[in-house]
Subunit: 223 residues, 2 copies
């Protein structure tokens, strides 16, 4: 192995969807939010780099960005792990969801047309499918898609971003949570949300969203 090395290695970058660090970031973020990784798993920059075929530099940027959003935990020595949340932290994040999501739903309500409700029904049907298959990741993903689709109508990007940050932080925990629980009741809550939406009932919608969001996460803490 020649020590000096010619230098000038440019594979001309596939650049399929933006820069390298963004690709790493997006992929990792998706994995974490949908609960593909369990809490407390260790990651290494070199390992991530190897997985994505990039050097440590973009891996580091992606990791730091995720850590800034609370999607990853950095130990004092810089070690990277998925977050393993304390019950208090979980409760706090649940409270945040209970605070933000009814507001987003209420803002979406006046803009919710029939087409949106129909789309939500479709997504909710997909939730039933994945529940039947005991597909935890698929369940989390489609459940969040249900909420996100509704909130997108609120036209409140900063608020939505904040809620997604909370979802991110809860990702690994949700996996652990939903793996040990029956989930037929969740669809019931989603149906209540849809009913309130169709009726244009704002107080009912706020309550339905709050209940849906709260009860799933209360299970772990209050068991």
């Amino acid at each position: 192995m020649e020590p000096p090395a010619p230098l000038s290695t440019r594979i001309t970058a596939p650049d399929v969807q933006g820069s390298a660090h963004e690709r790493v970031y997006r992929t990792l973020r998706g994995r974490i939010m949908s609960g593909e990784m369990e809490p407390g798993v260790a990651l290494t920059l070199r390992g991530i780099g190897k997985d994505f075929g990039v050097s440590m530099t973009p891996a580091r940027e992606a990791v730091r960005r995720l850590a800034a959003e609370g999607a990853l935990t950095l130990s004092a020595s810089g070690r990277v792990t998925t977050p393993d949340l304390s019950p208090e932290r979980i409760e706090e994040l649940a409270a945040l969801r209970a605070l933000l999501e009814p507001e987003l739903a209420a803002r979406a309500l006046p803009r919710a047309h029939m087409a949106l409700i129909e789309r939500l029904r479709t997504i909710n049907g997909r939730v039933a499918e994945v529940v039947a298959k005991h597909d935890v990741t698929g369940y989390i993903r489609s459940n969040l898609e249900f909420h996100r689709t509704l909130y997108l109508r609120a036209q409140a990007p900063a608020m939505l971003a904040m809620v997604e940050t909370v979802w991110l932080q809860l990702g690994p925990t949700m996996r652990a949570l939903y793996m040990s629980k029956d989930r037929t009741d969740l669809q019931k809550h989603h149906r209540t949300i849809l009913a309130a939406l169709a009726a244009g009932d704002e107080p009912g919608l706020r309550l339905a969203v709050r209940t849906d969001v709260t009860q799933g996460l209360r299970m772990l803490v209050g068991l």
Copy 2:
């Protein structure tokens, strides 16, 4: 110029307070949150690096972290600027404050002892001083310190972090806002907050905080 170069430059790092990128991050964050930089100002990695006596690498990490928190804006080509928010964005962030801060205040209320109220009074006195001196940055800083001191008692780190993220995003805007406005009314609101705290009046406290938070930011949009 020798191509290989000796390599091996380690000034043994001062390491006064953690890693280089953290020092850069903390300083920049403080500057942005307290409104020391106006909206739309351009920054460069090399420039930041030179300012802090570090290379581009830690500068880049600090910038990306700040961008992830919304404290800086990255253009499509990667250019870095302080955020110049649209009125809709400002209103949304104000709504976020109006949603989160009363909750934090309410959670702090049962834990608020006399010593805390006294401390808040002191901070509020400092607000009066800086207002008299027309020191915008000092005003923003002590105003936020008033709120942060109260919310710290809520024992809700995730919620506090979220609110601070909102403050960060509003930093440069607050500067532009407060520079063109009289501010004697702000202390009045703070006094109302203190009265509700002392009386243990939760609804009154929620309202007082919401009013304090909302009205200052409503000025810009609704003028």
